[in-house]
């Protein structure tokens, strides 16, 4: 029970003048006099500086001489000096919690002008503190050991310095860097002001030290995903992003050459390109390459067989046709066929669609197959004993056979017809020349797939000869489920197409109606037109399921399209005369002598009966949709005989699924796991398409309509030049195209495409955040023309330009390669500007002067610096400014209002405020000294680590002067520019300070736990468990035996939420008990 109630307290009250900070506004003597009359107060004094030694001594003396057992200090904020005064009590042998502070400076004298009112407020605050302190109780402060390891986030110069300092002190450091290499912005700089040291020369030795230090575990290309725990005992989860290159990489750079993908180099600010397999710069630490792969691109994800279109397009664009074909053959044994007949869902999903039109992917595949001309399919790497029967040689059967054969199985394909190919062999030659298909089938036979033509089979016999069977007999038998189908002149589409192949086409008369929804119906219509008939295609769909090119071609050839139409019945008297149709409620009749039905096929009843397998109610073969297993063990079925109508590539996908199932079945593997990505899916890559220049799609030419009499192929290939231009339109959504050419050249075998992100958990006692900054985006000031004018550069771009390892090897040149005669440097871009950032970015004046010096040194060009104020504080900075002035650099006070381009020259227009006159200066190049801003994700990082930000978004330090590297969250320190704009010396100094802060914490060995924890009085607890659901830390458990809630003090963080909610008053918070706060409220409001 509080002693306050017993009235034994002897309170000393001390009113601080804080020099004049308090005393000039508040009548401190009056407050002291008032306080001395309050109950329990033994002594009340005022003193100039309570926090000074004599001030503290004053309290100590009173404690000793007056027997004080409670102390109140009315001074500044308790956040500043509560610790100081508590220590005074401890030193005098009194529990430090018998202390209360009244904040009469920050929350009184500094914020109120009226001295009388401020004094009244001070009295109330002191009275509240006096009343409260009498209810204070001694608290137990538990200590726990501190984990001696440290997490440093960010591998720029600040993070490097902090990590090295700690590592040198013998502490284990985890240094996490988001990019593939440490080095940060400093690695991009050319020279450093004011000494003009080469940035890389002074930074890279430190980087190597980090890489080699036994105490530093370097986690590059990694990000902290979550952090929990408290000071001394944090647990962080770190995501190591998949580099796809292992630590065996020697950094030899052999892989760069074959890589077909070039992307803008982030390190060179986009002034140069890098490969998809890259290291940011040659001195990178670690010296390991990284493959930037963002995921599976839309073209590949939407393809039923996941053909790597992006990959073969990239290779083709580099003239690597053989390699492109190898990549195609990885997933597809029928490339020349699909290059002609595929309905190309890849193009429907192509991200380029958001810019203009999708890439002509199918035509680019045609380019590859046409250019290579002749090839062999890859055979098995090793032969296997098991043999598999495939029934049906359509696209599903062939794809299945190919995949199984490549795995080494002996494969026999049984085909009922004399010619293999199934529905492919029925495609008329004007779309798929017969020899193309024959060659593809011959290639399959060459790798050891046996195709038995004209062969009818039975399942049980097959199972005697083979270990597994895949049935893909198609669904060629069109259902004639429309009234009037018995009339003469009604023809099945399949029969018509077969008659074409045989070269003895069925008679169709002068006008023919085709009923159907896919490319087969289009083929029939086009064939009928070639027989001289007038053709009308009736489809239930708004658009037939076929490639856009085919729909265009069929219309060019004069076929009438009736889409979104429901056929009602076939009209006629003995012979077909027309088709009655319905659309949107209206009925109409299409006249025709012949009607060809090409829709809704089922497997042939005879064939199916032969096989002895179960059928569904619709007449299809019954198979598990995920594995394609039938109810006969070892027998699988796929393609149209299971699913109904499929496009060619969809049927192939079904065949591949069957091959995967058979492989799993024969090896006793799990049949169901990890099959989610077998069908088409949506790519997760987000593609930025704004700012991409529009370039029209290169459509492949088609045979002139007048020449389309016979069965000559209609779709012609793109010319190679046009095709390569088309390939260049690819947006490279995924980064790496997964062509695996780098893998073929990597001698240490360091490339691992299967590498996945890895989550690492580390336990540390302290965290140092050194996440740095980003530069202001000058596009936000459109009148400066950045991004529109070629020769307007940002500061970092100029750093790369002037760097001898940069894109121009250090030559300062214009976009056209010529040397500038006159250069302008504009200070304060995005800084000291209410529209963007009100603060000064601190480093821009100095780096602008450095640029001026470098330009003079390298080119002798005239240099103009436009500034507002010249801020050159710091050691040697003013001297550098003077030196640059003597080098003939012209300094103009007053930033230009705008930059305009006239006749290829840039004109800066503004006012020289020292001369009070306007200027219009013509220059060749402008460098924008962009300011510094918090990282784009600073807000997320801040939340992750539970720290605050200042108004500008920079991480907030605990105190701007006295605790610039600590945060309000104990154990989390700040270093470098994440706390605010800083130059290199300041960042390094702060990093050292942060490291020292962490060391002090660690070397103390123990950390005090929160004292203000909650407790639950078991005798009052009703067991309602309200508190348990409220506690965000899971610190409250329910004791089932006693039916009461119990607080785990080690987990309790002391927020008091449970206390505020406890309906029975059983929960209390140490130092924030109800009676303590109630006393404060009452005393604050007491009148007089």
């Amino acid at each position: 029970m509080a002693e306050g109630a017993a009235g034994q307290e002897r309170i000393g009250v001390y009113i601080c003048h804080c020099g004049v900070n308090i005393a000039e506004r508040i009548d401190v003597e009056q407050v002291a006099g008032f306080t001395s009359t309050l109950p329990g107060v033994v002594v009340a004094r005022s003193y100039k500086f309570m926090c000074s030694d004599p001030g503290q001594e004053l309290i100590k003396k009173d404690i000793r001489e007056q027997g004080l057992n409670r102390v109140v200090v009315a001074a500044c904020s308790p956040l500043l000096h509560e610790r100081t005064f508590r220590r005074v009590l401890t030193e005098e042998g009194i529990t430090p919690f018998y202390f209360q502070m009244a904040n009469i400076r920050e929350q009184d004298s500094w914020v109120h002008r009226d001295g009388g009112l401020a004094t009244e407020k001070a009295k109330a605050l002191v009275r509240a503190a006096v009343r409260r302190v009498s209810y204070h109780e001694p608290l137990e402060v538990r200590e726990v050991p501190v984990n001696p390891d440290v997490l440093v986030v960010g591998g720029g110069i600040a993070g490097i310095e902090a990590a090295l300092t700690l590592a040198e002190a013998g502490k284990r450091v985890y240094l996490v860097e988001r990019e593939p290499s440490i080095g940060g912005h400093m690695a991009q700089l050319d020279k450093t002001f004011p000494t003009l040291d080469c940035s890389a020369c002074i930074l890279t030795p430190k980087m190597s030290d980090v890489g080699a230090h036994p105490n530093i575990e370097l986690l590059t290309y990694s990000e902290v995903e979550s952090i929990e725990g408290y000071v001394g005992n944090f647990k962080a989860k770190i995501r190591k992003k998949a580099r796809k290159v292992t630590a065996d990489c020697t950094g030899c750079s052999d892989c760069e050459d074959p890589c077909p993908i070039t992307l803008p180099s982030e390190f060179d600010e986009g002034l140069r390109e890098r490969k998809a397999i890259f290291r940011p710069f040659p001195q990178a630490v670690p010296n390991i390459y990284t493959i930037s792969r963002k995921g599976v691109p839309a073209c590949q994800a939407s393809c039923p067989i996941h053909q790597n279109a992006y990959g073969y397009i990239a290779l083709a664009a580099k003239g690597k046709f053989e390699e492109a074909l190898d990549l195609i053959l990885w997933d597809n044994p029928l490339p020349a066929t699909l290059a002609r007949v595929c309905h190309h869902p890849c193009e429907e999903d192509c991200s380029r669609r958001d810019v203009d039109q999708p890439l002509a992917i199918r035509q680019l595949k045609r380019l590859v197959t046409d250019t290579v001309g002749e090839w062999e399919l890859p055979g098995p790497e090793a032969e296997r004993e098991e043999s598999v029967a495939v029934v049906g040689s359509g696209p599903a059967g062939l794809a299945c056979a190919y995949d199984l054969r490549r795995k080494g199985y002996r494969v026999t394909v049984y085909e009922a017809e004399a010619e293999p190919g199934g529905r492919l062999s029925a495609i008329p030659a004007f779309r798929l020349p017969q020899e193309i298909l024959e060659q593809e089938i011959a290639r399959l036979e060459e790798i050891g797939i046996e195709i038995r033509r004209g062969s009818r089979v039975e399942v049980d016999k097959l199972l005697r000869e083979h270990q597994a069977v895949f049935i893909a007999i198609g669904a060629p038998l069109e259902k004639l489920a429309i009234p009037g189908a018995e009339l003469r002149g009604v023809i099945r589409g399949r029969e018509f197409l077969a008659s074409l192949r045989r070269g003895r086409p069925l008679e169709v008369g002068r006008s023919v109606i085709i009923l159907g929804d896919d490319d087969r119906a289009l083929d029939i219509a086009r064939a009928a037109v070639r027989r001289g008939a007038k053709a009308t295609l009736v489809s239930r769909l708004p658009q037939p399921k076929a490639a856009s090119e085919e729909i265009e071609a069929v219309q060019e050839e004069g076929v009438r399209l009736e889409t979104a139409v429901t056929p009602v019945r076939i009209l006629g008297n003995g012979r077909v005369e027309g088709l009655e149709c319905k659309t949107a409620g209206t009925e109409f009749v299409i006249e025709g002598e012949t009607l060809i039905i090409s829709a809704g096929g089922v497997p042939e009843a005879e064939a199916v009966a032969h096989l002895g397998l179960k059928l569904t109610a619709e007449g299809y073969l019954a198979a598990d949709p995920l594995t394609l297993a039938t109810d006969v063990a070892g027998v699988f079925a796929g393609g149209e005989c299971v699913s109904g109508p499929l496009s060619v590539v969809e049927a192939m996908a079904s065949g591949r699924k069957g091959a995967e199932s058979i492989h799993r079945y024969l090896n006793g593997l799990d049949m169901y796991g990890a099959r989610e990505l077998e069908g088409p899916y949506a790519s997760t890559i987000e593609v930025e398409t704004s700012g991409v220049e529009q370039r029209p799609r290169q459509e492949g030419p088609r045979l002139p309509v007048a020449e389309r009499k016979g069965f000559q192929e209609v779709q012609l290939p793109l010319e190679e030049r046009a095709a390569l231009e088309e390939a260049e339109r690819c947006l490279k959504c995924a980064g790496c195209c997964d062509c695996r050419l780098c893998w073929t050249v990597c001698e240490p075998e360091a490339i691992d495409y299967t590498m996945e992100d890895e989550l690492v958990e580390v336990e540390v006692g302290a965290v140092i955040l050194a996440t740095g900054y980003k530069t202001f985006d000058p596009r936000k000031i459109p009148q400066y023309g950045y991004g529109r004018y070629d020769n307007v550069l940002s500061g970092l771009e100029f750093e790369r330009l002037v760097n001898s390892a940069g894109p121009t090897e250090g030559k300062v040149v214009l976009k056209d390669g010529s040397t500038p005669k006159r250069i302008a440097i504009i200070h304060c871009v995005g800084s000291r500007d209410e529209r963007f950032n009100p603060y000064c970015s601190k480093i821009c004046c100095m780096y602008s002067l450095k640029f001026a010096h470098l330009v003079k040194e390298r080119t002798g060009a005239e240099v103009y610096n436009f500034y507002i104020d010249m801020r050159t504080f710091g050691k040697g900075y003013e001297e550098f400014y003077r030196r640059v002035r003597t080098e003939g650099v012209k300094l103009i006070r007053g930033l230009p209002g705008e930059i305009v381009q006239r006749d290829g020259k840039l004109h800066l227009i503004g006012e020289n405020i020292l001369l009070d006159e306007m200027y219009d200066l013509e220059v060749d190049m402008v460098i924008l000294a962009v300011g510094l801003e918090p990282r784009a994700d600073a807000e997320e990082i801040r939340r992750l680590f539970n720290i605050s930000c200042s108004q500008d978004g920079w991480f907030l330090e605990r105190h701007p002067k006295l605790a610039p590297v600590s945060t309000f969250t104990d154990g989390i320190f700040l270093a470098g520019a994440c706390q605010g704009p800083k130059d290199i010396p300041d960042s390094v100094a702060q990093a050292g300070a942060a490291a020292a802060g962490a060391l002090a914490l660690i070397d103390a060995g123990q950390v005090k736990l929160e004292a203000y924890t909650a407790q639950i009085d078991a005798s009052l607890c009703s067991g309602c468990r309200t508190c348990i659901s409220l506690c965000p830390f899971g610190a409250i458990d329910f004791d089932e035996e006693r039916r009461v809630a119990v607080v785990n003090a080690a987990l309790c963080k002391g927020c008091g939420t449970c206390v505020a909610a406890c309906p029975s008053g059983a929960a209390t918070q140490a130092h924030f008990k109800d009676e303590q706060i109630m006393a404060e409220i009452e005393a604050l409001l007491q009148e007089g």
Binding site: R113, G1056, T1057, A1060, F1072
Partner: protein, 159 residues
């Protein structure tokens, strides 16, 4: 003399109390009507504290916490928000205007907001006039007994 309202402000240690300190270091000037009580989290503010403040003569009560998502204790401010809505509704039934109880999210960097909110609230309360709840609750003729730590305020049962 014009009416000077009394405001009791419960500010959380991590955001709003720090913001009030920042207002001080930035020498912002605002109405001297608010008296600040420091709690570790706005989630600690028991509705009872608010009732007690009104009973003891406050004309308004201000609760300041961290912005949503910023709570030092993850979600204490959400708990405060829930209680605030219930309490404001209850106070209204008791005839206490909604404007007399205010909840504000004020981050450590928002010294300016402390000034604005306190000034605004002071002005608003001046318009509303005194609450005088402590006088109304007092039975005529009897003298008010100050709350002491040894007895639990009776409002607790009513919660």
């Amino acid at each position: 003399m014009s009416f000077e309202p009394k405001i009791v402000a419960f500010f959380c240690n991590w955001c709003t109390y720090t913001a009030a300190d920042l207002a001080g270091t930035s020498r912002m000037q605002y109405a001297p009507n608010a008296r600040i009580i420091r709690v570790m989290c706005s989630g600690r503010v028991d509705p009872q504290f608010v009732l007690q403040a009104f009973r003891e003569g406050a004309d308004g009560v201000l609760i300041g916490g961290c912005h949503p998502g910023d709570c030092h204790y993850q979600e204490g401010n959400y708990k405060a928000l829930r209680r605030y809505h219930l309490l404001a509704a209850m106070l209204e039934q008791l005839g206490i205007e909604r404007e007399r109880l205010r909840l504000e999210w004020i981050a450590a960097s928002e010294g300016e907001k402390v000034k604005r909110v306190i000034d605004e609230m002071t002005e608003q309360l001046k318009k509303l006039g005194p609450l005088n709840w402590h006088r109304e609750l007092e039975p005529a003729g009897s003298s008010r007994s100050p709350a002491t730590g040894s007895e639990r305020p009776e409002a607790k049962e009513a919660e």
